[in-house]
């Protein structure tokens, strides 16, 4: 066995599916001197990979997870360890059938073969199933099982064949040395390793290892119960590991997966059983393996009955016994996403909270990210840099996963809110908002009013113009008050709490260079200018879009969204040279938006500063006095209206908020929620949002955001961006074009009008498939009411030949087609295309 080397380029901690995939891809991409450690023996060191049920269902509502899964399947297939079995997801209720129809939308959007089928269809392929237990099923023929341990061995061997890898098993990491903000050394019980990079890929143990470097890896080991029943004669008579499709009994949160002569029954229906990484037994202490904890049968008994109801002849077969039962540990996170990427310690990377179905895809993505600075599949939702401080607490992870565990097979509305551990970050005007009947949604721990019940009276005023939704699903986590607030803002004005904005100041002699290098737009502008800019990765994909204010020659303020704020801050911090500082202002500066045709009148009544168009131009900022309080006002808008973002010291914010509401009331202004700011206001203007329209797989050209000129100064992604523009100039069509589509008719077969919520596939009028230049199928990136237009709008990237105004297409929603028409292409807004309202 290999001994611990004294030095390495990179040390990968963990030899589960993730670590194994990672060393393979790092080696394939040219890295050498890779050392892989595990405290357990090979090929099964005792982590979650070793007891995984190893099946892969390919359709997920998230594109990121689906792409990682499909990439993983390809890799497993190439290694010869994938066995296709097909898989059913059963519905016992009509509510679940509706969810399966929504799953069909995702399958179509991501281009995965799937079909809704009858119980008899299921029975034909799974003869031992009782058809009276369910009403329908979602059939994915491409579902299969893998040998994840064998895959791991193959991938390690491939890296070793390249002379790139030294694997040392049975060695425990005892410390991580960080010096000057960089990882320097891994300490083990077999000796220390000097290294440039470390990747923590040790699943349920990752938090414990992260703590050694002061890095929070907020996941929790959680129990997933599984039993194995056999030998079942119906299974034993067929050769091989699997010859019947896998069944996910969605409404009982169980699955039944054949494994040779046995049927494995797994459950996500029991109470959340969480453990601490430090409490996981050692290999010696554990009966089976450290992550196969003693089975607690009481927790499983209800599922046993439900499984038996579904397959009585099989599970009750003569001689079939429960011969294996575990409380298997797996990793859960507070938001359900993996934890990938570089931590705040330079060179210290993570790849954890990953399922078997995503393992190889994650390995490839993280390896590409480490080697090239970006990955082909956008994994920004999984970026470890996303976590806000409150999310790094173990208590938060514990509370959120306790709440979400039961939702593993749940029906989750796209806007569904967590109930636990709320009220982490409250705006200074929170009390006022509560009195106004604010309905709070959470972003990055901030409680943000989505609408105000105090505006309910507006519903009568606007009548059907608020576009009420009669279907419960379409109107869940939604209110027509949002649209009423929208109309009032466009008619008079709205006051919007934007406290959640992530704000940081970059100051010092290197400040200009830092923002120039990170931002696409020209930031070498006069002091007092406001710049809206994309931020790219080296491949020209979006990392973010945000605004930069030049507050002084050597002082810039960056303002970005709460959800992606911490990742943006980390990205900028990596480009700030010594002697220049990056300071978070999120908690001490509060942003209040004031927009609408009366915004200027309202502000003029509160200040003696010149706020006329001549005196306070668009895309400028400066300090003004609002009723004696110093406020940094910035004339910009994300809702397409005249107005300002007002940056107020946190201590003054409640006062300014009250002042704006009181003085605004005389002009018809009302408090307006994020429902308008985040959706209706922007969608009418075709404004894009990071994480929806903008991600690392789309370019400025596709998003229609290119400006006439490219600044001379260098910036990350410049070469790629120039190449995209050159291709466009040479007449080559972009791979896709962002368009705004108008839904022409909402009437479903039942007569109920339906309203899409996002994620749905865009098809030809006759239901035919569209494919863009990436080989992807178009889907709705944002859906929302456009009350000022009286229409429901959809944003989607279309193949360029389809991106023609007036083009008749369709959107599939809950397995029905609705006619849509392309309303605009590129950046052109449907509302106020000349942007006169901004003046």
């Amino acid at each position: 066995m290999a001994t611990v080397p004294a030095s390495a380029k990179v040390v990968v901690i963990g030899a589960g599916i993730v670590g194994n995939s990672l060393v393979h891809h790092l080696a394939r991409l040219g890295w050498r001197d890779i050392v892989q450690l595990d405290k357990g023996p090979l090929p099964n060191p005792g982590g979650s990979t070793g007891h995984a049920s190893n099946f892969i269902f390919t359709v997920d509502h998230s594109r990121e997870i689906t792409d990682l899964t499909l990439d993983s399947v390809k890799q497993y297939q190439e290694m010869g360890v994938f066995t296709q079995s097909g898989g059913f997801e059963l519905a016992r209720t009509e509510e679940r059938m509706e969810e399966l129809r929504r799953r069909m939308s995702s399958a179509r959007a991501w281009g995965i073969e799937a079909e809704l089928v009858s119980p008899d269809f299921v029975k034909e392929k799974v003869p031992f199933i009782e058809t009276d237990q369910f009403i329908g099923a979602f059939w994915t023929p491409g579902v299969g099982v893998v040998d994840s341990l064998r895959a791991g061995t193959i991938m390690r061997e491939r890296a070793m064949e390249l002379d790139a890898l030294t694997v040392v098993a049975n060695v425990e990491v005892t410390g991580l040395d960080v010096e000057g903000g960089r990882i320097r050394r891994v300490r083990t019980d077999g000796g220390d390793i000097e290294t440039e990079y470390v990747v923590i890929a040790c699943g349920v143990w990752s938090p414990k290892i992260g703590d050694m470097a002061g890095v929070s890896i907020p996941l929790t080991p959680a129990v997933h119960q599984m039993i194995s029943v056999g030998p079942c004669p119906q299974l034993a008579e067929r050769e091989g590991e699997i010859s019947f499709p896998i069944v996910r009994d969605m409404d009982t949160f169980c699955y039944e997966r054949q494994h040779g002569a046995d049927m494995e029954v797994g459950s996500y229906a029991h109470r959340a059983i969480l453990h601490e990484p430090e409490e996981i037994p050692t290999i010696e202490q554990s009966k089976l393996s450290p992550t196969e904890m003693p089975f607690t049968s009481d927790d499983f008994d209800p599922q046993l009955e439900q499984a038996y109801e579904l397959m009585p002849e099989l599970l009750g077969a003569e001689g079939a016994e429960m011969r294996y039962a575990i409380n298997g540990l797996l990793s859960l996170t507070c938001d359900g996403w993996p934890i990938l990427g570089e931590s705040e310690v330079q060179g210290l990377w993570t790849a954890a909270a990953v399922w078997i179905k995503e393992g190889p895809g994650v390995g490839r993505a993280v390896a590409e990210w480490m080697v090239n600075g970006h990955s082909e599949i956008d994994v920004s939702h999984s970026d470890i840099a996303r976590f806000h401080p409150h999310q790094k607490r173990r208590e938060h992870t514990r509370l959120r996963t306790t709440e979400s565990f039961i939702k593993t097979y749940g029906i989750i509305h796209p806007a569904e809110q967590y109930e636990s551990d709320r009220d982490q970050r409250l705006a200074p005007m929170h009390e006022s908002q509560k009195k106004l009947g604010a309905v709070f949604f959470e972003t990055g721990g901030w409680e943000r009013p989505f609408w105000y019940e105090s505006n309910a009276a507006l519903l009568d005023q606007y009548g059907d113009a608020v576009m009420p939704r009669e279907h419960e699903w379409d109107s869940r986590w939604w209110s027509p008050i949002i649209n009423a607030e929208h109309l009032r803002m466009r008619e008079a004005a709205g006051v919007i709490d934007l406290s959640a904005f992530e704000i940081f100041d970059i100051a010092g002699p290197g400040a200009l260079a830092a923002v120039q290098m990170t931002c696409v737009a020209q930031c070498d502008v006069p002091v007092g200018k406001v710049v809206y800019t994309p931020v790219l990765d080296a491949a020209g994909g979006f990392r973010s879009d945000l605004t930069v204010m030049r507050l002084g020659e050597d002082h810039f303020r960056v303002v970005t969204g709460a959800a992606h704020g911490p990742a943006d801050r980390q990205w900028f911090a990596r480009h700030v040279p010594d002697g220049t500082t990056l300071t978070s202002r999120t908690d001490d500066v509060v942003t209040i938006g004031l927009w609408g045709p009366r915004a200027r009148d309202i502000l003029a009544g509160l200040t003696s500063d010149d706020v006329t168009d001549g005196g306070f131009g668009f895309l400028t900022c400066r300090e003004i006095q609002v009723k004696g309080t110093a406020v940094l006002a910035s004339r910009i808008s994300y809702v397409g209206e005249l107005g300002w973002e007002l940056y107020v010291a946190a201590d003054d914010a409640a006062g300014v908020w009250d002042t704006l509401l009181e003085s605004g009331a005389a002009h018809g202004a009302v408090p307006v929620g994020i429902g308008v700011y985040g959706t209706t206001g922007r969608i009418e203007k075709g404004y894009r949002a990071f994480g929806y329209e903008l991600d690392a797989e789309r370019s400025i050209v596709e998003a229609g955001m290119q400006r006439p000129k490219v600044k001379a100064a260098d910036f990350v992604g410049r070469d790629a961006y120039l190449a995209q523009r050159a291709r466009l100039d040479s007449g080559e069509a972009p791979a896709s074009v962002l368009c705004t589509l108008v839904v022409d008719d909402h009437t479903s077969a039942s007569g109920v009008k339906r309203y899409m919520l996002g994620g749905e596939p865009i098809l030809r009028r006759d239901g035919g498939t569209l494919t863009d230049g990436h080989g992807h199928h178009p889907y709705v990136t944002t859906a929302g009411s456009a009350p000022s237009l009286g229409k429901h709008l959809l944003l989607a990237y279309l193949p360029p030949e389809e991106a023609v105004i007036g083009n008749d297409l369709a959107v599939s929603y809950m397995e029905e087609l609705y006619p849509v028409t392309v309303g605009s292409v590129d950046a052109t807004p449907l509302l106020d295309p000349a942007n006169e309202r901004l003046r």
């Binding site: 037994p281 050692t282 202490q285 009966k287 904890m293 003693p294 049968s297 008994d301 046993l304 038996y308």
Partner: protein
């Protein structure tokens, strides 16, 4: 004919044994709880003999072991609700005897010894208490026409005992393979009512000072050398072992 089989909730000791801080018990945090392998065989034999009732003395958690026995075919269960740590072997024997007298059982099967404390006491004391014959360390037990046949593999060879009912037999693992529960068995076990009893008398206690772990066994690994230089030593060893011809 009615059989009583006695089980005890113990820590699964098939992995490293960890003691609680006070040294009074084995810590089951990691390994979980079970009944001993001897008792699993006793349950299997009791089920084969038929009309088996399972009993235990322990806290509320010990119901798990009763349900496990019910799931593999025991038909009734009796739970003496008590802190097992406070009961010595004589106390336990007295409680089992009380159940036997009330329940009219005529055969009692026990494990040869408890997996956690290893006292080897209860069976003998129970037979004394009841005035019944006892066979110790049987691997196979059957009943025919009022006669118990118990097979014992002793150091001096194989012994077969025939004793008339009523009788006590302590079971050593190895004669039968205990079955795993079936799904219907487990579901049925969940629905069987468990008779709860209070101890018939205050326990005298185990008189145990504390448990101690034996010192770790010395490593038997001998490093023969490293790299190609080790080859000669390996060949020597293989020859000694007879794997290679000299």
């Amino acid at each position: 004919m009615s059989t009583l089989v006695c089980v005890k909730r113990v820590v699964d000791s098939s992995s490293e044994v960890v003691l609680t801080e006070d040294g009074q018990a084995v810590d089951g945090r990691y390994a979980g709880f079970t009944m001993s392998a001897h008792e699993e065989c006793a349950v299997e034999l009791a089920v084969r003999i038929g009309a088996a009732t399972v009993m235990t003395l322990g806290d509320a958690d010990a119901v798990e072991q009763l349900r496990a026995a019910l799931a593999v075919g025991c038909e009734a269960a009796t739970h003496v609700v008590a802190d097992a740590q406070a009961f010595g072997p004589a106390d336990v024997a007295r409680e089992v005897a009380a159940i036997v007298r009330d329940g009219g059982h005529d055969l009692v099967l026990l494990g040869n010894d408890a997996a956690d404390t290893g006292d080897f006491q209860v069976g003998i004391r129970l037979s004394y208490e009841l005035g019944w014959p006892v066979v110790n360390g049987a691997t196979l037990v059957s009943v025919d026409d009022g006669v118990v046949t118990a097979e014992v593999d002793g150091p001096d060879g194989h012994e077969t005992y025939r004793v008339p009912l009523p009788a006590v037999v302590t079971v050593l693992e190895g004669g039968v393979a205990p079955r795993y529960p079936s799904v219907p068995g487990r579901m049925k076990a969940k629905k069987v009512p468990i008779e709860e009893r209070q101890p018939s008398a205050a326990p005298a206690g185990p008189a145990r000072v504390r448990l101690l772990l034996p010192p770790p066994a010395p490593s038997t690994v001998q490093v023969l050398g490293k790299g190609p230089e080790a080859a000669a030593a390996v060949v020597d060893l293989f020859e000694q072992l007879g794997v290679l011809a000299r």
